[in-house]
């Protein structure tokens, strides 16, 4: 099982499942990362964290620790 954290720059993946609970998970969902949506990993910050993904036509940045909650395929 791969999580968003392991995805390399330039790859496009589908969200399979969101793990975790509470505010962070809700926030991720509110921002449009829900089951079945396509994510394009655009870049990694110069210091290696956070990452930038394109979701629903806009740019979103999230930390790798939070990206680990997102299962993708």
């Amino acid at each position: 099982m791969r999580t968003l954290k392991e995805i390399k720059c330039g790859e496009t993946v589908l969200v399979k499942k969101l793990n975790g609970v509470g505010p962070v998970k809700r926030r991720i969902m509110d921002m449009g990362i829900t089951k079945g949506i396509e994510l394009y990993v655009r870049k990694v910050a110069p210091l290696g964290d956070p990452i930038e993904v394109t979701v629903r036509g806009y740019e979103l940045s999230l930390r790798k620790a939070d990206a680990e909650m997102i299962e993708v395929e």
């Binding site: 505010p23 991720i28 969902m29 921002m31 629903r56 740019e59 940045s61 999230l62």
Partner: protein
Amino acid sequence: MSIKIALAGNPNCGKTTLFNSLTGSNQFVGNWPGVTVEKKEGKLKGHKDVVIIDLPGIYSLSPYTLEEVVARNYLIGERPDAILNIIDGSNIERNLYLSTQLMELGIPVIMAVNMMDIVNKNGDKIHIDKLSKKLGCEVVEISALKGEGITEAAEKAVKLARNKTATPPVHEFATEVEAVLNSIEEKIGMQVLEEQKRFFAIKLLEKDEKITTQLKEVPNVSKEIAQIENEMDDDTESIITNERYIYISSIIKECYIKKSKGKATTSDKIDRIVTNRFLALPIFAAIMFLVYYVSITTVGTWATDWANDGVFGDGWKLFGLDVPSIPAVIESGLNAIGCADWLQGLILDGIVAGVGAVLGFVPQMLILFAFLAFLEACGYMARVAFIMDRIFRKFGLSGKSFIPMLIGSGCGVPGIMASRTIENDRDRKMTIMTTTFIPCSAKLPIIALIAGALFHGAWWVAPSAYFVGIAAIICSGIILKKTRLFQGDPAPFVMELPAYHMPTVENIARSMWERGYSFIKKAGTIILLSTIVVWFAQSFGFKDHGFGMVENMNDSILASLGNILAPIFTPLGWGDWKSAVAAITGLVAKENVVGTFGVLFGFGEVADNGSQIWGTLAGSMTAVAAYSFLVFNLLCAPCFAAMGAIKREMNNTKWFWIAIGYQTGLAYLVSLCVYQIGTLVTTGTFGIGTIVAFLLIIGFVYLLVKPNQPNQTAQVRKAASAK
């Protein structure tokens, strides 16, 4: 009866621009009760009876961020007559997510699709009429930047508000979800208005704890939750969110035609360079240098010098004409009316000099605020957080904390005010508390005095002062992060990186003025009062013939106070009253410390670095004590102007005192360790103080390395308070 229209929308959707054009100069800026979230209200141009309320920019009505809670409490509790929902047309999918929630509130909603020019430029197409039909509410096209369609949108909102017909939510969830929502609505009963029921039912289903405080009787909905979670194999929060996005996708499919897929926009191209793996940091450094160079060293210094030395000093020149300074004008005015000496002293040396010293920072601050407003509005500030997050989050700070700290090395006042760009409440408070640890330019004379008098101008004294400041920030961040004050729900760093765009001059000017003005107001109240108190203490005292004004500070109340306070500072190595008095006058402005020593040692006027008194000072304390004095003055409560800024930005008396108390407490303990251990090393003296210092260091190291086990206790506490 006045009509209230709320502006609601995502951050970066052009809400502020629209608000400014709709209300013009007729605005009132304040804070929402009890929180530091800004509240803006204004009267609609041409309508005396229509008030527009600018809600904070939010993505959702979830209970997790301060802005969201503020917005929804307003929408539920105050119930505006209509909601004008602004939607960024170039980012319509996520923007509609909030709209689906707004439409459940039972308040008339009208939608304004903004940034249509960008949509058209990209060759995309939005069918407004179809969108309106699908959503069941009126939808208009606007361009807030160009002012197109905004009057129309506002007029329609006013009409809608007068009709008082709530927009019926046309969005339906899946049948199973609707079934449980119906059953929850029945359980809520007559507690809330009919049209609000759906909103409450959805929130109860989402297990939203904050909503329960709005209800007299909280119905037990655990059966419904269990039922639906079982049926759909997910938690209710996820079910609702998923359903909303599925619904939005179905609308978008029919109303939004995206021509170009994968073609890079101008914004993409800029971003490719600005946040490039290798170029990002150099570009960041260059921009920061530019901001600092212009607002602190060049234009900022001219502006401050003009204000301090010209307007509040010896007068200045306008087109070759001599313009007298404000103190000179007031002095001649007071002389003309034959004002009493003590009153003249109060007005000139107390009020004008004190407040003038503070207002002198205003021109410099305005320049800085213009920069910050530009960086924020164009979209670069979000990238700053993106680039710097990795370093700063370790200390419980935000990537955006870098800017306040950089500015703070010039002057702490604009530095503290710059913290306003940090959205997260805890990160912002932490930044405000620690920014003034960085030596500002007014502390440089103190450093020069100590380095010159006791260390023969050694090269390492000044760098070590900066090192102490940075270490204080890092250690404070690590330690405070673990305390109860800064615990609670972890702040998610899930942040939009908005498309770059050119901000308008009007928006920048307005933002600059709003921030500057809020500081000027503080200068008129708390800062004014504080400077008068210190002036009084240093110019009045008991002499041979009773109480009165004293010529020499040696006879003043402040000197007596210094004598009382001196023993407190004995463990720090500088327990004579003169040092204590100097530290107190440093509260008016840090550079005063040097001047005060000059007066107390009987030298009168001294140079900036106090070179005349080096010898005397060297005779009155040891090198270790002097360094301890330096550390104390670097870390302790900043000047009144900066304290005013802290008060303004914390917007909370308790937090203000926590900040000042923490800074002064830390300063005391660090100075104590410096003196006691320094003395042990240099002279071999070992006493109770040394033991205390070692214990302090052990405790300090323990706090630094202690593992962070926050969330468990925080959760337990929350559960207990909920019961």
